[in-house]
Subunit: 93 residues, 2 copies
Amino acid sequence: MSLAQLHYFVAVAEEGHVGRAAARLRVAQPPVSRQLRALEDELGQALFERTPRGMRLLPPGERFLVYARAALSAIEQGRAAVTEARGTRGNVQ
Amino acid sequence: MSLAQLHYFVAVAEEGHVGRAAARLRVAQPPVSRQLRALEDELGQALFERTPRGMRLLPPGERFLVYARAALSAIEQGRAAVTEARGTRGNVQ
DNA sequence: TGAGGTTACGCCTATCGTAATAATG
DNA sequence: CATTATTACGATAGGCGTAACCTCA
């Protein structure tokens, strides 16, 4: 699993469309499609249903989405916590 | 930032020692050392103090540790949530 | 037959491990 | 001078983009 996979997964879940997700991510479609499949392979579970109209989340995908967002959010918070720390690093001892 | 960097960071924070962290991660020392530095570079902030005895967390590192663990934990929970879903995927519709 | 997703393939970047090097108490 | 971290370097693997292909209503 990789952070890119989580980002791609969330984007596709939100767009319901690999093409739009890729555009939003400023990446070509194939990487998104591949990483999505790799993620499903690793989890041993399909996360999306493929339809001629796009991608629809399956129940396992819905469940995973919650934690994918949580993980990405934690990382952003961590980044912010460290960045805000600039100037507070007096006590290096 | 990568998940490997987060794993490496947490291991080093817990071990206080790149060598032991690497052994625990079943990886050579250099990758751990490099990824740690890359992480610090990306965050624009030192996370550890280097001593001849090993590595000690600096305040920004302490702050980041909380969120790094949260992110990794969320991923594990996500994995579990999907895995447990096996057999519950009746309503694919 | 058109909209959308996937596979093939070549290139490029990133990461690893071994070995050598630096730093510090 | 021993312990620990870092840098050099060659080899490998992973990921991207373009282009071609498949599928289904």
